[in-house]
């Protein structure tokens, strides 16, 4: 199922993700889909969840002792995921769905976003940052902004500079 969803999301415009299409692609009857998921959004989110809980799909927060280096690695990892054709498309699709479905948004928040942000905040707190949650937001927010609105491409220099700014903001540089 997830495979079918990923394939469609990766190779066709978002509006082409339909129950009918997924069922056809997965050689499954529509009823089988509806038995498990109420909507394409739900399948989509499930696929993202599976991929993220999988060891290979998760972005982990490194902890080497060198905070700046760790954050650069973390952000580089995120950027890698966001720019990956398949995972990027998947994330974009889920994000779009979230905007119009508060229930889905809540799930996404609790199961994916909050743990992710908590892990980052934790790493920052361990390095002595106060207001670690706000700091985590300061770190991640601009990445989301640049990716979502496609204002500019990511590059290594920007990642380093961004991490530098964030560390200065929390008075650790």
């Amino acid at each position: 199922m997830h495979e079918a969803v990923l394939a469609i999301v990766a190779e066709r415009p978002m509006a082409a993700l339909t129950m009918e299409g997924i069922a056809a692609r997965a050689s499954v009857s529509k009823q089988t889909l509806y038995r498990t998921w109420p909507s394409t959004s739900a399948i989509l989110f499930d696929a993202l969840l599976a991929r993220s809980l999988d060891e290979s799909g998760a972005v982990v927060v490194p902890d080497s002792g060198d905070l700046a280096a760790d954050l650069r690695l973390l952000i580089a990892g995120m950027v890698g995921e966001l720019t990956d054709p398949v995972h990027g498309a998947l994330l974009r699709a889920v994000t779009a769905d979230i905007l119009g479905d508060e229930a889905l948004a809540a799930q996404h928040r609790e199961l994916l976003l909050r743990p992710q942000l908590a892990a980052i905040a934790d790493r920052l707190a361990r390095a002595g940052v106060t207001d670690a949650e706000d700091a985590a937001e300061l770190l991640v927010g601009p990445v989301l902004h640049r990716w979502l609105l496609r204002t500019r491409r990511f590059d290594e220099a920007w990642v380093a500079a961004h991490v530098g700014r964030v560390l200065r903001a929390v008075a650790l540089a």
Copy 2:
């Protein structure tokens, strides 16, 4: 037309914004819509554009000399727009559309986002900030993050703290 779109967006789930519905609400034939716009996304964006170019709908960057105060005002203004029931819903709908339509994303970028960010960057540059564009992103990104992903509510204290962090990041505090 815009009025009809705003009404529907404000009071019904996003999926209920259809060409048929807009036509009915605006007492207009479908063909009249299709003559001007190819999709609901286009009408939606047009409505946002109209509202933003209108003097009353735009967020302007204040310039009183006191940078911190100005940024707090600016962010408070943004937050006000984002949390306004009508405008917020409109922005959410357009943002969702942008995620699945690169052409629309480009328009949004050029006509709304870039000028907005440029204005902010300009204000920062005038205060002596280098890398003003990145700084603008640092300022706006976390706001987008919090709004889009609905992680936490906005409040005045956070706005002030956030502006403080950004100013520290650009070494002006």
Copy 3:
């Protein structure tokens, strides 16, 4: 379905027979109609076919031994059908469609017209008429003419006179 078609044809102008209308009247979705028939013409013809294959709707050729009497009965039966408000309207509608659709015309010819004419020709041949097919045409043609072009009303006297003329034409009176 047939019932809905008959009702519409009987009580409204021919142009008002639409897929949309039939679907509504039959409390059926448009797709259900399109799954079975490609056009209103096809449904119409199907309704006529059903009615004609039904024992109650068919005009049978009587065979009592008295040819003149039999033909008078036959023509009277035809006239009865053609002047019946419902069946007449149905026939008129199908005839109009036939004029613009050769495929439909062929079906009509093979399934309804030819058997009908063959039965008449058979009756005539049994009475010793040569060129029975042409004679059948001579019998039926003027009825069609008078009905289709609405030149004059039918009455019993005309039927008798007409049959007399036809029998004289084939040299049996």
Copy 4:
């Protein structure tokens, strides 16, 4: 205008005759059409009328003294018109319209059909036929039947045999 109508009728399926199409083909605005005719049927009938009143388009009843020969010529002329690609298509289209529009049918009857039948009846009466109108119907009906229902092609032998039968029917052969 008539030219445009004839062209469309001759080269495209009947359903393709639209006000919009005629206007385009004749390089005329729709309003100009509506100023003169209320429907495509009306234009169509007008075109037929013009062509029939024109000396070249009318079928005249010959009167050489030899009734059989005259009728054979008359029927052959009719058959020629009915099988002509352009005029035949025009007649077919008008006939279809007549079936669904009593007002149009009345016009057709008064302006074209009745004079035509009267002329034939007149010729027959002059030759001593009683019930000349019914005889005219007997002559013309089977031609209509064969043409309209496309049962069989016309040929010279049939024309001669048919005329023979009709003359026998009216007791003149």
